[in-house]
Assembly symmetry: C2
Homo-oligomer: 474 residues x 2
């Protein structure tokens, strides 16, 4: 048995012991999903700029195709085609404010991945756990295809394909495929596939949406020992080959020809008549085809924007897909949402709409969503829209409980709306959408002069696919 | 002043204090030879295989365009487009035999570069100094364009362009342009440009050849604060653009289609009707155009083979250039030699010839060198050949002193011949020329599955061009 197999089994044991109360065995989900030669074939890359703290440490890990930025430490883990983006980590001396507490950081924050398997996962942002402000840990956990681990320290947990944990500390939990959890904490829970759950006990709101199993199975279906199947994976796989060129390029030319304040990752694909405006951010593994990106619009990791227009100051969160759509200004599209209009009659979304994370708008007739709406769930036509949206204004007025289709809301709608608005503003700011040439720098500007260290595994012998121990410090 | 400038001045001071007795100031030779943006533009690369010890450490250094293999440590240095090839370093437990002494190594050997500027230099092989078997140090020294530091630990020294120090420990010495020194030790000496000196007190021989200053100036002329000029640099610069593609490629495809046991560096250029045979080694920064490489022939770093045939088991040592030549089997071409026949009437070199290091055969009429000759110095026609060659057989018989043209030999010719033969055999062996598919592996075979870590400098700020501290361990 080679070292990667040993490592795989060791991690499976670690995760399973944490998940024993759920009688959940992660083994069948991770064994065999990567063919051995792929561990040798793909390099890992570490972004280097003068604007991000530099500190990388790998030990006894396989990192095929993964990207790292900022302060990261990886031990005894398999991190496959995963983005670990530590460009919003907190720094020594920062004060982390949390519900009246003010916690000064005694050290720079780092992302620590240990005894874990992460497969095509996105890790971003900082630990929102007030108990671990200096460490965004991902320990003894497994995450599958296109999962998002966003500001969410996790231990002993399993995340299915397209699952998202957002600003939530997760212990000993199972989060099913295409479930989204933003609840601050998640302890010893099992979240079935296709649940969208945004809640805050302290703030007194609880939003839930459940995909019906048959709808979910059409979009994403988990298969043991193999990739998931369904529309999401088909969609991604059809465009997979277009990325090959991006990863075969030399890593030292960058962004020669983009508008002021914009940045386009070397590791993204821009095709057709795609146009960019100032302060646009296109992150790695993004796919833009015939896309018009207005001022300050962003497409974060794993986003697809095809035959679509984003008017300006649009947020397309990690894994968002926008196809045949005309998005007005300041629309927010949440994690792993899938928006697909008709080719000749694009989905129209009015200004300032909030498309909740893990929303599927997959049209069978033309549809226009008026401005200022919040939308969720599965929408294929006008009738679906009626039960899967309301105006932000009306949501803000809710006090109490309402149900609409698969959605149930309890509590103070105004608090949820404020939280969302605040967050969208923060995302635009952080991404540099408001940069004026001098002030309000953000990721778009700070990634302008990134270069990439390319790190390679052993190619043969028992350690084939394992990376040598590597430490990079300022 | 930015950090690279600081570092440059600091190194200049360190070297000058060592060279104070020579009243030699290295400053004018190194200030301004690299334009600042080049430090940011080029990446460094570290070869990774399962067959070479892995250990790399960089601190506070600029490494633009440099290559490393094996155990290397670089501190407070500027290493520009330099190859540091630690694939023949000794290992812990090896016994270094030296004139009756047997010195067991208490640790793996490493190459340590400190407080030095190395510019387009080749560093290879192991420390032949019995006093430092575990460390091949290069400290407080400057080496210029296409210098070779070969098994030669150095301290406080300066090497001009195309200079070679070979199997020689060098302290507080100045070695002029295109001088070659293989004397075991060189202490507090100043070697004027264009001297070829091979000597061993213990073995009782001393070979010297001096290029006349006017001949030398045609081939290489040192210019303060700029690249050297002359035929050598013109020749290299005319072919420089052909290398750009090699360095722009992704670093993970290798050697798809070469004969058994052969290896061709990704970072070499093969053009025209070039053919390779089994066990051929083509190292990085080699340039082959219409070259026929016979079985087990090698072209080491910085070699050019153009419109030429190497019949088999040929050694082309680092920096050797062979243009319009027909080299029979087992010919040896020493470091930085320049052989150029007429385009329609190639230089013919018979089997088993030894072309001494730093030989210039630059024909103005057709010439054939019979087999079994040793040749040296500057040869343009048959008359020159008469005073610049003899049969290896006759050289072996010499006891005493002879002079021929610019050459003077004293001592036991037989010992020199034996040393050369032994060394050529070792080079072929080490390079894998005798590999039979199972046994006699060498560099050609061990480089088959090399992959490259690509390391990047800071691109902006005061540290622009400096590399972050990097440590790679098994």
């Amino acid at each position: 048995m080679n070292e990667i197999q040993n490592l795989t089994e060791r991690i499976i044991d670690r995760v399973n012991i944490n998940l024993r109360e759920h009688h959940f065995d992660v083994g069948p989900y991770v064994r065999g999903i990567v063919s051995p030669e792929k561990y040798m074939k793909f390099y890992a890359f570490y972004g280097l700029t003068s604007r991000h703290p530099v500190s990388l440490s790998f030990k006894n890990s396989a990192l095929a195709g993964s990207y790292f930025l900022g302060k990261c430490q990886v031990d005894f883990s398999i991190v496959y085609k995963t983005d670990v983006r530590g460009d919003e980590l907190k720094q020594k001396g920062d004060v982390f404010k949390f519900r009246g507490f003010e916690i000064p950081l005694h050290d720079d924050e780092r992302i620590r991945i240990q005894d874990s398997i992460m497969h095509k996962t996105l890790v971003h942002n900082f630990s929102h756990d007030p108990e671990s402000p200096e460490e965004f840990f991902i320990v003894s956990s497994v995450s599958l295809h296109y999962a998002n681990i966003h500001g969410a320290p996790v231990e002993g947990s399993f995340f299915g394909p397209f699952a998202t944990v957002d600003l939530t500390t997760v212990h000993d939990s199972v989060v099913g495929a295409y479930s989204y959890v933003q609840t601050g904490e998640l302890m010893h829970k099992r979240i079935e596939p296709g649940q969208v759950w945004i809640a805050s006990k302290e703030d007194g709101f609880d939003f839930r949406y459940s995909y019906s199993p048959d709808v979910l199975a059409r979009y994403v279906k988990v298969n043991e020992g193999a990739d998931p199947s369904g529309i999401f994976m088909d969609f991604i796989n059809e465009r997979k080959n277009d990325f090959e060129g991006a990863f075969a390029l030399a890593p030292y030319d960058y962004n020669q020809d983009v508008p002021r304040g914009a940045s386009v990752s070397n590791y993204s694909v821009l095709l057709g008549r795609t146009s960019l405006s100032e302060n646009v951010l296109v992150a790695q593994r993004c796919y833009l085809l015939d896309a018009q990106m207005g001022v300050g619009a962003n497409a974060q990791e794993n986003c697809f924007v095809i035959n679509s227009k984003l008017a300006g100051y649009n947020v397309t969160a990690h894994g968002g897909k926008i196809i045949n759509a005309d998005m007005d200004r300041q629309c927010f599209v949440g994690f792993n949402s899938f928006l697909r209009g008709l080719e000749q009659q694009p989905l129209k979304v009015g200004p300032g709409c909030i498309v909740m994370p893990h929303t599927i708008i997959d049209l069978r007739e033309p549809l226009e969503i008026p401005g200022g709406q919040v939308v969720w769930g599965h929408i294929r036509d006008k009738r679906d829209l009626e039960t899967n949206s309301m105006s932000i204004e009306n949501l803000a007025k809710i006090q109490g409980e309402i149900s609409m289709g698969g959605m149930r809301f309890q509590g103070a709608g105004g608090v949820l709306v404020e939280a969302f608005k605040h967050r969208i503003e923060h995302i635009l700011e952080a991404n540099g959408a408001f940069y004026d040439g001098d002030n309000n720098r953000g990721h778009a500007q700070d990634h302008e002069r990134v270069s990439f260290n390319i790190l390679q595994p052993y190619r043969d012998g028992a350690r084939a696919g394992i990376y040598p121990t590597t430490i990079i410090q300022p």
